[in-house]
Each structure stands twice: as structure tokens, then as C-alpha cells.
């Protein structure tokens, strides 16, 4: 694992062994090593190497399940204990250490990161495999660069989900941004440069705010500790005392001293209350990724221009980083900010739900429609988190996973037909179910899953969020109205999805498409897992997701509500 060594250079050999042996490190850097391999491999072998790498990564990430099934403790609640910050596969080593700054190489997972890691590795593998036929694309050149960037992207994404040091988190965040920029900008459609630049600018704007928050949080935590006498015992590590600011996300969230300082109304930044401002900074950074109206306009362009596998990654994983960011940074660290913004956030969420659905209804471009539908779906995530109820949090988390399954499937379905027809005009399609029966069946599953049909993954998230929102009515009177408005989206969603199905798959066969071959074995193999998961998640939500997430989510929520109750 010498690559790990490079990344964590400047530490003593023993720790290097630790790193090399650490599961998360391996998971995170396997793709990067695959990228190196692609760098030197002969051209014909590249794509197989890439696909194999992503497959191995996926399989290896499955070993994480041993956390739950290794012991008799079966659920997240049991595994991650009774305090937020009980982690697994932790590795923390000093990375950049001066007398005032201590940036650590700090990886670990809990119920928040775990399902997203599995999702990431799975979606990455599937989409990597989906790029198998990239020579046939309009821009079929640069296979080597493509797959290298792809694998680097995967490393970046995985890193975001496992790194618990804000600095490291930020680095991975940016690391993930660049390959995406090139993947869209080079292998994209007609207006790829525009889309790529737009994506880049939006995300960069977000990460700038995040950077400000990062620095501010570091120094203010330092002030907090200084005020407390310069010596504060760590909240969750034995015999560790903090003497200056920290980037440790868990510490920032759980340390009473820091929390008290952050949330006290006298703490100011640019003469604005600290917690709300920082929350807003982080929130915008993540909301752009989620994306949330009005920061969403990069998404349709990026999706439409990006090649199919990249759209899958984009929809399947990148959007989840926003939600993950909320749950990992915004809410635990700035609960008071959350309370301050709750109404705004919920309203934005509802607006995104309805607005995205309406926009999707009006699209004539197949891919754009799916893109807008993901805006609508991610609105549920925001809504569920914003109302801060158990059901809401659980629903939001589930919605992330569910959308991570269904929307890549939808995008791949679009890609399948795009490879054959070379256009995406919904109104020019028709009768494809007759032409390609297998494809039609798969498409029905995929789109009904994203429609939120009960018994499929989409439903659980939506209904959980809706009920959770309504449940918040006891705290926030406005929650009733919002829940009802959000519930209205079930009609809109059904509207545009069914209309889409009718226009594309039903009806008489058209001559121009009569010659289309049905989905190939590879495509079936890519679609099948997602279809299967869409069903299984819908039927056994507890065994597939809730058992792994709820414990941690409840801890986070308890932490947040507790902190809010402290507000005078």
C-alpha cells in the first residue's frame, strides 16, 4: 500500500503499516492504484483493468458489513454505541502537524458513511462497466485518460464519505471535483465546455464558502479552548486534551466547550452570529451539490452534456454528498444554526420538490427530465433533514440511498436508448416496449421506482419524509402545510413519469426504431442489480438500510435536539 504512504508521507513506519492494513484506506485508495495501473497498462487492457478495479473495490467494501454481522450486535444502534462518534475502522494519524495546527489523516465510518460507501462503490462499478463501449461514443478517444480520471473520481468520492478531519474532507471534496470537470468537459456532448464550466463554477463557489467555514471553525474552536483555559479534554477520546483549534469533525460536534462557544449568541463572525452564518456557509456549499433550487441550474446541463456513466455517478453519488454534508457537518456542529434556518430550509426543500417536478413535466429532453426529477427527489432529502424529526432523518437518508439506486438506473436506461437512437427527444420515441421487451420491462421497474411506487425504494423515502414532516408539526406549526404541499408532488410525479412512459415505451412500434437490438447481456447485467435493489430496498427497508443507519441518525438527532433545547 505504498500509495497510502505517499499520501500520508512524513510519518513513522509503524503507522505506515497501520495505514496499509486499514480497511478504509484500502477501499479509498484501491481505485487510485487502479488509476496508476491504467497509466502504465497497454491500451487494450485499460478498460478491463478499470472495471476490475472498481469491482474489487466494491467487493472489498462489502467486507465492511462485518461490522454488523461479525458481532452479535445486528443494528447500527448496537454497533455505534450510545454516543455520536463511536466509529469503526478508525485510522487517525498526524498528517500536517505544526505547533498550532494539527491536521490528521483521520478516517472512520459510522451509520452515515457506511451505506453511502457501499452505494458509491456499487454505482462506480456499474457505471465504470457502463463505459465499456466508450469507443463507440461520439468522443471515443482518450480511453486511458478517461478511466484514470474515473478511478480518481471514485477515490475522491470515497474519501469524502470516510474522512472525518474537515481538512481532509475538503481535500477529497476538491479532488472529486476536478476529474468530474474534465470528464464532463472532454467526453461530454455538444455544449460540454459550457456545462463543465458551469458545474465547476457552481461547485467552486460552494467550496469557497466551505473553505471560509473551515478556517473560521478552526480558529474559533481555538478561541473556545483558549477561553476555557487552553486545556480541554477531548469529548470522545481517552486521555487526549485539546490545546488549540481542531479540524476533527466529531470533536467539533461533540465537545461541549466548542459547542457552547459556537452556539453562544455573543460569538460573532463579521459581526454576525457565528452558528447561523457558518451553517449558512456550509449549507450553501452542500446545497449546491444536492442540488437545491435555486442553485440547481448546473445539474440539468451537466447531466445532459455528460456521458451516460458520468451522469450515473453524478446522480448516484455526487448529489448524495450534499445530504451527507448536512448530516455530517451542518447539523451536528451547528445545531442552533439548524434551528435558526429550519423554516427556510424546509420551504426551499418543498419548493425544490414541486418545482423540480413541474420542470420535469415540461421537458422534452429525456435526460433533462430525469435530471429535474432528481432535483425533485433531492428536495425530499432536504425537507426530511430540515424538520429534524426521527422519521424525517431516516426518510432523508433512505431517500438518498433509494435515489442513488433508481436515478442511475434511469440515466442508464436513457443512455441505452441514446446509444441506439443518438437522440433524446422524448416525442420522437414511441413503442419501444414492443421493440425491446426486456428493455421495456427494466424501464418500467426503473421509472416506477423513481415514481415512488410502494414496494419499491422510492416510496419508503418519500412517505417517511412526508410523515416525518407532518410529525414536526408539534414543533413547527408550518410543518403541516409544507407536508401537504409536498404530498401534492405524488400526483405531479405520477403525471410526468407516466406521460414519459406513454410517449417513449407505449404505442405502436416505429419503423425507425424497429431494427433496435434489445438490451445486450452487459446492459442487463448492469441494470439487473439496480432493479433488484430497487425492489429489495422497497420491501425490506429495515434489513437493507434502516438497521445500518438509524442508530447513528438517532444519535445525531438526539444531539441536535438536545443542543436546540439548550437555547434560552
Amino acid at each position: 500500500m505504498w500509495l497510502a504512504l505517499v499520501v500520508t508521507g512524513g510519518i513513522d513506519p509503524l503507522n505506515r503499516i497501520d495505514i496499509a492494513m486499514n480497511t478504509l484506506t484500502i477501499i479509498v485508495f484501491l481505485p487510485a492504484m487502479g488509476a496508476l495501473l491504467c497509466l502504465i497498462a497497454p491500451k487494450p487492457m485499460i478498460r478491463s483493468i478499470a472495471v476490475l478495479t472498481s469491482l474489487v473495490t466494491f467487493l472489498f467494501s462489502l467486507t465492511l458489513f462485518s461490522i454488523y454481522f461479525g458481532s452479535d450486535a445486528g443494528t447500527s444502534a448496537d454497533v455505534f454505541g450510545s454516543t455520536y462518534g463511536a466509529l469503526h475502522h478508525v485510522i487517525r494519524l498526524p498528517w500536517i502537524t505544526t505547533d498550532s495546527i494539527n491536521i490528521e489523516f483521520f478516517l472512520g465510518i459510522d451509520g452515515l458513511g457506511f451505506p453511502l460507501i457501499i452505494l458509491t462503490t456499487l454505482v462506480s462499478f456499474l457505471s465504470c462497466w457502463a463505459s465499456w463501449n466508450m469507443e463507440k461514443w461520439k468522443i471515443g478517444k482518450g480511453i486511458r485518460a478517461y478511466f484514470i480520471l474515473f478511478l480518481l473520481l471514485e477515490t475522491g468520492m470515497l474519501g469524502v464519505f470516510v474522512s472525518l478531519d474537515f481538512f481532509l474532507f475538503y481535500i477529497f471534496w476538491e479532488l472529486m471535483l476536478l476529474p468530474m470537470y474534465f470528464l464532463i468537459g472532454v467526453w461530454g456532448g455538444e455544449r460540454r465546455e459550457y456545462a463543465a464550466i458551469k458545474f465547476f463554477l457552481f461547485t467552486l463557489a460552494g467550496s469557497v464558502l466551505m473553505l471560509i467555514a473551515l478556517v473560521a471553525m478552526f480558529f474559533y474552536s481555538g478561541d473556545a479552548i483558549a477561553q476555557a483555559g487552553g486545556e480541554v479534554a477531548s469529548a470522545y477520546q481517552e486521555n487526549v486534551t485539546l490545546t488549540h483549534g481542531t479540524f476533527d469533525l466529531i470533536e467539533l460536534a461533540t465537545n461541549e466547550t466548542i459547542q457552547a462557544y459556537f452556539s453562544s449568541p455573543v460569538t460573532r463572525f463579521l459581526s454576525i452570529k457565528f452558528a447561523p452564518l457558518m451553517f449558512a456557509f456550509l449549507f450553501i456549499g452542500f446545497a449546491i451539490k444536492l442540488p437545491i433550487v435555486p442553485f440547481h441550474t448546473w445539474l440539468p446541463d451537466a447531466h445532459v452534456q455528460a456521458p451516460t456513466p458520468i451522469s450515473m455517478i453524478l446522480a448516484g453519488v455526487l448529489l448524495k454528498m450534499g445530504g451527507y454534508g448536512f448530516l455530517r457537518l451542518c447539523y451536528p456542529i451547528f445545531p442552533t444554526g439548524a434551528e435558526f434556518w429550519a423554516f427556510t430550509l424546509a420551504v426551499i426543500g418543498v419548493v425544490s420538490i414541486i418545482y423540480g417536478a413541474l420542470c420535469a413535466m415540461a421537458q422534452s429532453d429525456f435526460k433533462k427530465l430525469v435530471a429535474y426529477s432528481s432535483i425533485s427527489h433531492m428536495g425530499f432529502v432536504l425537507l426530511g433533514i430540515a424538520v429534524m424529526t426521527k422519521a424525517g432523518f431516516q426518510g432523508a437518508m433512505f431517500q438518498m440511498i433509494a435515489h442513488g439506486i433508481s436515478s442511475p438506473m434511469c440515466f442508464f436506461l436513457v443512455g441505452v436508448i441514446y446509444d441506439r437512437a443518438h437522440h433524446r427527444e422524448i416525442n420522437r420515441f414511441g413503442g419501444l416496449w414492443m421493440t425491446m421487451p426486456k428493455y421495456g420491462t427494466m424501464a418500467t421497474i426503473g421509472f416506477f421506482a423513481s415514481l415512488g411506487l410502494p414496494g419499491m425504494c422510492g416510496f419508503i423515502g418519500e412517505i417517511w419524509v412526508l410523515l416525518g414532516t407532518f410529525d414536526a408539526g408539534s414543533k413547527y406549526p408550518w410543518a403541516y402545510t409544507l407536508a401537504i404541499i409536498a404530498a401534492f408532488s405524488v400526483i405531479l410525479t405520477a403525471g410526468y413519469i407516466l406521460w414519459l412512459i406513454r410517449r417513449v415505451y407505449l404505442g405502436k412500434e416505429k419503423e425507425e426504431y424497429a431494427g433496435f437490438s434489445d438490451v445486450s447481456g452487459r446492459e442487463i447485467m448492469i441494470l439487473a442489480p439496480m432493479a433488484l435493489l430497487a425492489l429489495v430496498l422497497g420491501i425490506f427497508p429495515m434489513q437493507t438500510v434502516f438497521d445500518f443507519t438509524n442508530g447513528t441518525l438517532d444519535l445525531v438527532l438526539a444531539h441536535v435536539t438536545n443542543a436546540i433545547s439548550m437555547i434560552p
Binding site: Y194, L358, L453, G473, R502, E509
Partner: protein
């Protein structure tokens, strides 16, 4: 018997169609015709039917009421997931109603599957050789799975899940011929209309979850009653909308779902169009089972309904049953005619539940399921025979060609018209169920609260005869007592045994409707007994509309039958082609027999057994006729004797008009006044047009506005931001040449240019500009330092200095 045996058997019965679904999906094409069909029949419905029959007999004859209740109590629950903190327990609602529905569904569905094996072989191959035969049975199996699951669910959430699944099956099956244009729209219409209902359903769910803190049917009802008694929870909130309390809104919300599924008035539009699907589908889903699911839902959540909510239910039902019956009078498409009669009958059921005639409504549901399924199969037989001719005006005289169909169809017509011999217990389904609904409706039009108060005032001297019914047990005993009496009024089975005293009382009561009140004198229940202290009386017009429709129904049914089977053949070609085949009319015969005996069969007992205090008492004591049993008995008796023969009138008129072909009918149609009415009815009150204008067009319009907004406002904002950066840059001497901005014509491209430029411009290699920018940035920072961070202030300096 082992306490879980029934559940296991029922569960197996649900599982087997699920298995057959996947089997048919994967290996269906290889099975081919008709093998795939038989798989569907055996695995998809045969097994469930076997289970159902076994369970039914075991349940009814093997257990007594106590053990039945006990079994229902200790039914198995599986912890499916946690909704927030509320555990969602999935299990089987094991009571007589479940079993009755389960048996009805499996029985009818089995014969419809059987019918389809023959029918679909001629109807599934339109699409250039690609057979959809197996697909049809796969869908049917999936439907069977969902429908049975719906019936069994003990949990509102799961009820909702299966609810949606049957919706999906109906969607897939309506659009089975999706290569044609009509079914495509029909299926969309069906699904989306149902979704509109589900919107309400979800709101109801939210309120149940939030206010009652559970989604389990029984717990919810219990907590609801407790909360009413204590005036806490949902009854504590002062929130009102359209003058409805929160509790009422909850009930109405749940009912909205039923309005969608059971196609009640504002949402009825999808059902007639749904006839675009294959005929067996119309018979199974859109006549017998799925559309009845709405009624079933209302029956299940009956205990969560406030009187106001029930009043709303009744009103909707009443409107539906009248309007749809009127439309049915002018339909010429045989399936459409049946569809509208179905709507009308569903209206009757909903109306019955609204008045509180819980038993009667469900009883009507089951009898209706039998004869309507049969009639649809018959119509399918006819359509098949007249190769795909559905217009009744082209038919006629078919009785010679297809006698069995004609006879069975006639049985159905009689049943739906409430055929029976007044004063006796001989009659077909409607004769008992529909009339009882009317009876309850009639009784509910009086304000019994006055009477109750009156009773309460002079309650003392009744003390002996008035057991306090404030506690549930008493209520239940008392209620069972009332049940017995009530059943006598209409139930043939007990008729002989206890007829005398009961009828005697009824006679004394039935001299005049007004006389009803005193007749309830001996009745020992009164308003305070129910959980709802005040129950408003039902407006009279509802009763009269329902009664009026009772006269229309026989007319249009007989009209339909006569135009199809009697008279002279009007289209020789069709007539010559007509034929019938055993595979198809055998199920007809079975169902016809079922129709004849459904009302005498166990169903009535099962339902009344289900309607114990634990099921409906909290509500029904106050709103349903059970409180005023004797009165209802009297009213029912009076109705049966007085109005029971109403169907004759309808028949006579129908035969008079259509006996001699269509001449008279068209003559009437063209008379002034009638003509306009006819046009309106023919266009179904233009509701479809209205909806298309308001909802479809409106929604799309909004959607396009949203898209426009997205492109030209949201996106253009960023575009403009980019532009501003550009302008600023220009001002700072960044830009030598600015492209002309013409956002109106190509906004997107402009965005591209704007953002692209904004990024690219600074990269133009003018060092001095960089310097200027950097310096500007530095200046800003310093200004900030001066303004905000008070640099230079002593403490700051203290920080800076070593």
C-alpha cells in the same frame, strides 16, 4: 386449531400468485399458450381459492365467536420497520370480514382467470406476432397478490402499499393493448386520478400517524375512541378547515383514497375509460374487486370517521349513485353501460357506509361483486361473439345465438335491480342489501339526538331497561343483541325463527315513518352510548335521491339486456357471427349460481360477525341504524313491502320503450327538452372536458411556466451575474471587446458566453491587470480589517506582537 394456522394458510394464498407472477415473467414466453394461462389459473388463483375455502369453513364452523375474536386478537405481527419511533407491525387482520372478502375475491377471480384462458387466446396477439398472453396472466397474478394483500393488511401503511400495487396492476392491465391510442390515455388517466385520491389518503395517513401515533387499524381505532372520550389528541386541536375539525379532515382524507379507487363522484372519470382494457380485467378489477377496495377501506377506517366525515361520505355516495345512474340510461356501449351501473352501485355502497349501514353496504359489495363480474364476463362473451362489436345498437336478438349468456346476464340484471318477492325472503342480492341501505338512510333522516336527550331526561324510569352503555363491553353486548334483531329484519336465515315478535313490532312501527320514533321506545340504546354525543340527522334529499335511483337502475339494466339479447337482430353480420363457447360460459354459469345464493350464503353472517362492537361500535352506536334497530327493521320491512317491487316499474318502462327496437327511444330522444338532457348525459356532464381543460391543460401550463421561469429567470440570473462580472471587468479595464449581449434570442448561449468569458477574460495575459486585481483584493481585505476586525486596536496588537 393452532392459533396461527389460518394466517399461515391465508399468507400462502397470497404468496402463490406472487410466485406465479415471477414464474410467468421469467419463463412465461417459453410456456406459451395456453400453458401460461393454466399456470396463472392454478398457481395464481387455484391455490388461494383452496386456502380460502378451507379457512372459511374452518373459521365459520370450526370456531365459535369467542375463539374467533381470540384468534383475531393474537394474530401474528411482524416488525417491518420503524417509522420514526413508531414500529410498523405488519400482519394479517384476521376477522370475518377479511375472510369474507378473501373468499369472495378468490372465488370470483378464479373463474375470471378461467374465463381468460379461453378469452385471451383470441385477444392477446394483435401485436405483430409478439405474444403478450403470458404477460396478461403475469399481471393478473400480480393483481391477485396485491388485492389479497390489501384485504389482509392489518396496517394502514401496508394497506396503502397494496393499494398502490393494485393501482399499478390496473394501470398495466388497462393499457394491455398499449399499441392502441385509447388505452394509453385510459391507463394514465386511471393511475393519475387514483393518485389524486392517494394525495388525500396520504394526508389522512399523516394525521393518523401524527395524532394517533400508530398506523395499526385496531390501535388507531382504540386510541381514537380514547382520545374522544378524554378530549385529547386529535380532538384537542382547535384547527378547522371548511368548518371541519381535524378529526373530520382525517376521515375525509382517508376517504379521498376511497374516492379515487372506488371512483366516487369527482374522481369517477377514470372508470368508464378503464373499459379500454380486456374484458376479464374489467370484470375482475373494475367491477368486482379493486373498485370495491375503496369501500373496503372506508369500512376498515369506519371507526376513525366522525359524523361529519360520514356525512361527507354519504353525500358523495349519494351524488355518485344518482348521476352515474342517469348517465347509464343513455349509454349505447355495452361495457360502458355496465361501467356506469358499477359506479352507481359503488355509490350505493359508499352511501350506505356514510349512513352507517356498515353491514348492508359490505353485503351489497359482495353480492354486487358476484353479479357484476358475471355480467361483465357475459358482455365479454357477447363482444367476443360479435367479434369486437360493443355497440348495443348493432346487437339484438342474440338470445337465440347465445342462450346461456343471455340467461345468466338476465340473472345479473334481476339481482342488481333488487328482484325479490316482497314479504318473503326470496330474492336476489340487491333485494336485501340495497333495500337495507335505503332503510338505514331513511331512519338516519330523523334527529335521534332529540330523542336521546328526551330519553336522557326521563331516563330514570327506564333505568331498568337502560343499561349504561358508556362502557364498551355493555355496548358490545347490547349491540350484538341489536344485531340479532336487525338481521331478522332482512336476513332470511333467521327469518323463520324469530320473525314473529320482531315483525310485529315492525308493523306497529311502520304505519307511518313518524311513528318510528315512539316505536324505538323500547329500544334501550340512545345517543350517549356512542362515542359521538351529537350526530346530525341526514338531509332528506339523500334518501329520496337514492330511492329514485332504485327505480332507474332496473330501467337501464333491463334496457341494456333487452337491446342486446331480445328484439330483432339489427346487424345481420354481427348476428351471424355470434356464438358462444363452453370455456367461456361455464364460468358464467358458476357465477350465476353464486349470484343466486350469495345472499343466502355465509357472507351475511360473516359480515355481521365482523361488525361486533370492537369493530364498529364506537361509531356505529351513534350514527348507524344499530342504535335504532327496531326502527330500521320497521323501515326495512316497510320498504321491502312498499318499494320492494320497484324493479317491476323499471322493467316495464324499459320493455315498453325498447320492446319494438330503437324507434321509440330515438323518438323520445329527439323530443325537445329531452334532447338537451340527453346530450348532457351523453357527454357525462362534460366533466371529462372540464378536467382536461382545468387539470391536464392547467398543470401542463404551469409546468411550462415553471420551465420558462427556470430557463429565463433562474438561469438568466446566473447569466446576468456572469454578465455583471464581465461589465465590472470591463470597467476595470479587463475587457477590450465585449460581445453584444442579446439574451432575449439565445439566453442559454449567452449564459455560456457570459460565464465562459467571465472565466476566460482574466486569463488574457495582462500582468498589470492581475496586479491591479490582486491589489484591489488586498485593499478590500485591509478595509475589512479596519472596519470589522478592529486591527490596530490594542488587544489586536497584543495578539500580533510576540
Amino acid at each position: 386449531m393452532n392459533s396461527h394456522t389460518y394466517e399461515i394458510l391465508l399468507a400462502l394464498g397470497v404468496l402463490s400468485p406472487f410466485i406465479s407472477f415471477w414464474l410467468l415473467v421469467f419463463v412465461g414466453p417459453k410456456l406459451g399458450k395456453p400453458l401460461a394461462g393454466w399456470v396463472g389459473v392454478i398457481l395464481g388463483m387455484g391455490v388461494p381459492l383452496a386456502m380460502a375455502s378451507y379457512v372459511l369453513l374452518g373459521w365459520w364452523f370450526g370456531e365459535d365467536a369467542a375463539s374467533r375474536a381470540m384468534l383475531g386478537e393474537q394474530a401474528f405481527r411482524y416488525h417491518w420497520a420503524n417509522l420514526g419511533t413508531v414500529p410498523i407491525l405488519v400482519g394479517i387482520k384476521l376477522d370475518s370480514l377479511t375472510i369474507a372478502m378473501y373468499f369472495m375475491v378468490t372465488f370470483i377471480a378464479f373463474w375470471i382467470f378461467f374465463f381468460s384462458v379461453g378469452y385471451m387466446s383470441g385477444h392477446s396477439d394483435e401485436v405483430d406476432g409478439k405474444s403478450k398472453y403470458h404477460r396478461f396472466f403475469a399481471y393478473l397474478s400480480l393483481f391477485a397478490f396485491s388485492m389479497l394483500g390489501l384485504v389482509l393488511s392489518s396496517n394502514l401503511l401496508f394497506l396503502f402499499i397494496f393499494w398502490e400495487l393494485v393501482g399499478l396492476c390496473s394501470y398495466l392491465l388497462i393499457g394491455f393493448y398499449f399499441h392502441e391510442r385509447v388505452p394509453q390515455y385510459a391507463q394514465m388517466k386511471a393511475f393519475i386520478t387514483n393518485r389524486v385520491g392517494d394525495f388525500g389518503f396520504i394526508i389522512g395517513l399523516m394525521l393518523v400517524y401524527f395524532q394517533l401515533g400508530t398506523l395499526d387499524l385496531d390501535d388507531a381505532a382504540r386510541i381514537f375512541a380514547e382520545q374522544y372520550a378524554a378530549g385529547t389528541g386529535i380532538f384537542a386541536s382547535t384547527f378547522t378547515m371548511f368548518g371541519w375539525s381535524l378529526a373530520t379532515i382525517m376521515g375525509v382524507g382517508l376517504f379521498c383514497g376511497a374516492m379515487g379507487k372506488s371512483a366516487q363522484f369527482p374522481l369517477h372519470v377514470w372508470l368508464p375509460d378503464a373499459m379500454a382494457g380486456p374484458t376479464p380485467v374489467s370484470a375482475l378489477i373494475h367491477a368486482a374487486t379493486m373498485v370495491a377496495a375503496g369501500v373496503y377501506l372506508v369500512a376498515r377506517v369506519f371507526r376513525l370517521m366522525t359524523p361529519e366525515a360520514l356525512m361527507f361520505v354519504a353525500a358523495i355516495g349519494c351524488i355518485t349513485l344518482t348521476l352515474m345512474a342517469l348517465i347509464a340510461m343513455v349509454q349505447t356501449d355495452i361495457k360502458k353501460c355496465l361501467a356506469y351501473s358499477t359506479l352507481s352501485q359503488l355509490g350505493y355502497m359508499i352511501f350506505g357506509l356514510g349512513c352507517g349501514a356498515w353491514i348492508a353496504a359490505l353485503f351489497h359489495l359482495i353480492t354486487h361483486a358476484f353479479f357484476k363480474a358475471m355480467m361483465f364476463l357475459g358482455s365479454g362473451q357477447v363482444i367476443e361473439g360479435c367479434h369486437h362489436e360493443q355497440d348495443m345498437r348493432k346487437m339484438g336478438g342474440l338470445i337465440k345465438k347465445m342462450p346461456v349468456t343471455a340467461i345468466t346476464f338476465l340473472v345479473g340484471v334481476l339481482a342488481i335491480s333488487g328482484f325479490g318477492i316482497p314479504g318473503t325472503n326470496i330474492g336476489l342480492g340487491g333485494f336485501f342489501s340495497k333495500d337495507e341501505i335505503l332503510a338505514v338512510a331513511w331512519v338516519r333522516t330523523f334527529d335521534w339526538n332529540d330523542y336521546s336527550r328526551h330519553e336522557a331526561e326521563h331516563g330514570e324510569h327506564h333505568a331498568a331497561s337502560v343499561p349504561a352503555i358508556d362502557s364498551d363491553d355493555d355496548a358490545s353486548d347490547n349491540l350484538n343483541g341489536n344485531h340479532k334483531q336487525m338481521l331478522l329484519a332482512s336476513d332470511p336465515q333467521h327469518g323463520d325463527s324469530h320473525a314473529a315478535p320482531q315483525h310485529g313490532e315492525a308493523h306497529t312501527a311502520s304505519e307511518s315513518p313518524r311513528g318510528l320514533k315512539p316505536s324505538a321506545h323500547g329500544d334501550n340504546a340512545h345517543g350517549r352510548a356512542g362515542i359521538f354525543s351529537h350526530v346530525p340527522p341526514m338531509p332528506k334529499w339523500m334518501f329520496y335521491l337514492a330511492l329514485f335511483t332504485a327505480y332507474i337502475t332496473p330501467f337501464y339494466m333491463m334496457r341494456c339486456w333487452w337491446m342486446t339479447f331480445m328484439g330483432k337482430p339489427r346487424d345481420q353480420h354481427v348476428h351471424d357471427h355470434a356464438h358462444e363457447s363452453f370455456m367461456m360460459y361455464f364460468p358464467l354459469i358458476i357465477l350465476a349460481v353464486g349470484t343466486c345464493f350469495a345472499s343466502y350464503f355465509l357472507f351475511r353472517d360473516l359480515i355481521s360477525d365482523a361488525s361486533t362492537a370492537a369493530t364498529i361500535a364506537p361509531m356505529v352506536l351513534a350514527t348507524d341504524g344499530h342504535l335504532h334497530t327496531a326502527a330500521i327493521a320497521a323501515a326495512h320491512h316497510w320498504l321491502i313491502t312498499g318499494v320492494g317491487g320497484s324493479f317491476v316499474v323499471g322493467f316495464v318502462i324499459a320493455i315498453l320503450i325498447y320492446g319494438r327496437g330503437l324507434g321509440i327511444a330515438s323518438a323520445i330522444k329527439n323530443t325537445v327538452g329531452i334532447q338537451q338532457i340527453h346530450t348532457i348525459l351523453d357527454h357525462k356532464y362534460y366533466i371529462d372536458e372540464l378536467y382536461h381543460l382545468v387539470w391536464v391543460k392547467g398543470c401542463l401550463c404551469i409546468a411550462h411556466i415553471a420551465r420558462f421561469f427556470d430557463t429565463w429567470v433562474v438561469d438568466m440570473t446566473y447569466n446576468t451575474l456572469a454578465k455583471l462580472t464581465e461589465r465590472l471587468a470591463a470597467f476595470m479595464g479587463l475587457i477590450i471587446d465585449t460581445h453584444g449581449v442579446d439574451g432575449i434570442y439565445n439566453g442559454i448561449a449567452e449564459t455560456a458566453i457570459g460565464m465562459g468569458e467571465a472565466v476566460r477574460r482574466p486569463q488574457t495575459g495582462r500582468i498589470r491587470n492581475y496586479v491591479l486585481f490582486a491589489a484591489g483584493g488586498a485593499t478590500v481585505v485591509i478595509v475589512l480589517m479596519l472596519l470589522y476586525w478592529g486591527v490596530g486596536s490594542p488587544e489586536q496588537v497584543a495578539m500580533l506582537t510576540p
